[in-house]
């Protein structure tokens, strides 16, 4: 299952090509092919899809293998949950020795 290219690059379908390219360059810089070969190829693949609006649209419309799995959704939701701001009073209570 290929992950949603928009999610891989962290952009939205409304993002223009310039934004997509900027995000791609940032990610490629962060995930170099030597250190993160899997992430790099995923990012590259996603960019190849999104850089051509026709291919991208065709994938969005008809590709049955493109998209999320429950595992990725749960993982993302959990991550989102973990990154949700902790109330300040709870946060400060953690500082007790």
């Amino acid at each position: 299952m290929i992950r949603d290219p928009y999610q891989v690059l962290g952009v939205t379908p409304q993002s223009d090509l310039q934004e997509i390219r900027a995000r791609y360059l940032k990610l490629v810089h962060e995930f170099s092919p030597e250190q993160h070969p899997q992430q790099f190829s995923e990012i590259r693949e996603a960019y190849e899809i999104l850089r051509d609006p026709l291919v991208s649209l065709e994938k969005r419309l008809f590709d049955l293998h493109l998209g999320d799995t429950f595992e990725t959704l749960v993982e993302q939701e959990r991550k989102h949950c973990n990154q949700r701001p902790v109330p300040t009073d709870v946060l400060l209570s953690l500082g007790e020795a």
Binding site: V90, L91, L92, G95
Partner: protein, 855 residues
Amino acid sequence: MGKKNKRGRGRPRVPLDHLKIAQRELEKRNAKLALEHARLQHQASASPESREVLERALLARAEQLFERGNRELATELLNELRTLGVTVGDLESQLEMLSVRLGEHPRVAGSEVSAEDALSGPVAQSLADEAVLHPHRRSPAYPQWNEQADWVRAALQEVEAGQSEAAWERLSAIPRKSPLAEWRLFVRGLAAHYAGDVSRRAANWDRLSPERAAYRIANHLLVFAGQRRAEEVGFPTSNGQRRLKAALSGNAVLALLETMRDDFRARRIEPMLRTLCTLRQRHARSHAQLIERVTDLLWKHFVRESDSGGLFRLKRAVPGPALDPRWLRANGLLMDQQSECNLNRIEEVWFGYIQDLETCSVLGDEEREMAIGLVYHRLANEFLEEVHRDQRDPFELPFPLGRRHAGPDEEEIALLAKRAEFHLRKALSKCPRLLAVHRQLIDLLRERERSTEAVQAGIELLQHFPDDFDTLVWLSNYFIEAEQPVQAEPYVERASHLRPRDQAIAGLIWNRNLGLFRHRVRKRKFEEARRQLQELASLNGSVSGHQLLPYAFCVLGASLEYKAKNDQAAEAQLQKAQEELEEPTPIWLIMHAYAERFSLPRPLKNQFRDRFKAAIQGACRSQTAGHMARFLRGYLARGVKYVGLVTHQRLLIDYLKRARRVKWSPEDLHDVCRFLAESTERRAVAVLGPLVEAGIRRFPDAPLFWFLRGQSVLGGFPRALPFLSGTTSDQEIKRLEKAQELNKRAEFPLTASECERLETALKTARATHDMMSAFFEHMSFMADRICEDDPGGEEDDWGEDDDWDEDDDWDDEDDDWDDDDREEELPDVKGASAARPRGKRRTSRASHNRQGRLF
């Protein structure tokens, strides 16, 4: 006597050990009780031990009272301790700390030393942290720290509210030397943590001091996020984790998602959809995107699995996705997945989806047009697939091994092609940037022999994709073959400019020059034609596959001179050509063809026709056959026709039929076999067989003959025959594999298109063989069962199966190639796929029995 006295009498009274009790209570952090007992002990018998316990108890009780907000009593106890005097070393710093917390300034040794500097580092840090963590315990002695602590708390609340910029601005006022400066690192790291910026978080949090409260908070968060293990942090985390979990446990969405995931894994569709409904009912506003993604995931899953029931239930549970509000796209894709489909129904569904797209607000205007174009393209592909079903699956087996319905007939194909063309044109009208659609339209029009429209489609393609090399080459060749070399000129120029070193360009330029020569001859521009001929002569041999032998140049020259009415020069050229060959038959053939193509006078046409007809009655020779086959094959391969081509083919095939004891050269035999394989004449197949066998015998290392042998067996059957007779044995596969192997080091290798056909034939042969083996195994098993059930019934019929020997069958078949009588029984199969004989064994009783049993 009361119980009390009785008990007292029973057990002798033991004096309390106040010291031990005080120590125990101190350990239990029960400071009040510890102090009572420590005082009693110290009053009863003062000792250094009792004094230490009393000091500790006094300090512990004072701290306890301070933490509970009773500053007065805490100060009293602190003064009592000071009066008593501190003898225990480690209590001094605690005493200092508490006195500062109670608002007393530390004792300053020099007047220059500030109050802050007078404090030791750990005490100052501890005070600063406490000012942040517990505002009510702040020391009034350091109002500046208290103010900074307020900033830190405010900054933390701003980060919580997502206003990180404001938080940083606020914290920038904290001096670098302040013990609260550590909190600046913490707040920056916290904002990065919430933003998922790992590197920035590490850059800040990795600098935190392990003794500080900020370090503890940061590590609690890291452990909770699963980014650090609890054992690594160096302090107990369980309480903190519990608090975090309690604070963030309001995530019901995550719980619902996890439930759905588990149900999905266990294929519990109904409960999963119920959970989806719950998710939608409770969180539709806050998690609309997530619900859309779950819906997307599910419909794609059901379509992939061809689970129409699952899709139906999903449709009832949730509304359609934004891109497919009426679920028509899902329906259309589901139909694609299913083998049995009704094209009209598919068309209806996709038309409906196009209507949905026209009003779809998720897509922009340009995207909408593109999407509609893509849907039309998809629809066109459905029809094209049906049009090409015969080509796609030439060895398709009949039902039940193959599909239930037969392929479409010619009339149906024409209708399907028309619908496909309609959809392709609609796709292009909506989105002209669909290169694949342009190409498919050109291919379809060419297949339907609508060359003019195909050319127009090619020109339209070039308007949108001016650098499409393949189309440029195709158009160039088209115009050259159509004797319109002038029209071809711009396309040749463009193509050669794009890829000057491409082999196709060299061939194109050669063909263009040849075309220009013919064009100029026909237009009676004889001088220019002569110059063109010289140019061709200079290029001759420079392009592989495009070479004219000297006699062919002479024939071209003769045609030119005849057209220019220089009969004498023409005769001289023909004389020169005849000197190059063993016999003149190929010259008369070519001259007759050129007489037609260059529109020479009728008497000349008749003269060469008669000469050719007379000459070809003679005995067959390798060189003559090779030259003629080479010439005619050129026309067949390019699909160029001229008046007399069919007759020429027929006469050459008759000539080759007499080739019984010819001493073939390998080049000539290759050309002859290739001509016969490409010939549209039905008798070519019969002639090809013996020649291929001769090729295998005489040139066993040449892959072409093995390939034609293997391919002819496969392609020669009528569609249903392999099924009926259970053929496609290992032998054919072995022959094709041998051709493939020999081709790697062959002196006369296969052409690119032959290699491609070889690959396809091998693939088909293997697939068919596997399928047939499985089928016959199954039939044999069924027969055994039937025999067991009804031993007297049809035992004899099935008994013959045991005698059926596949290998014997094939051995006999090999002999068929040398048997002229059998060749007459060959099926009428056209084309290069050639034919194989329908041996009598092949329709043997055993085979019939299988058929009879099955149906």
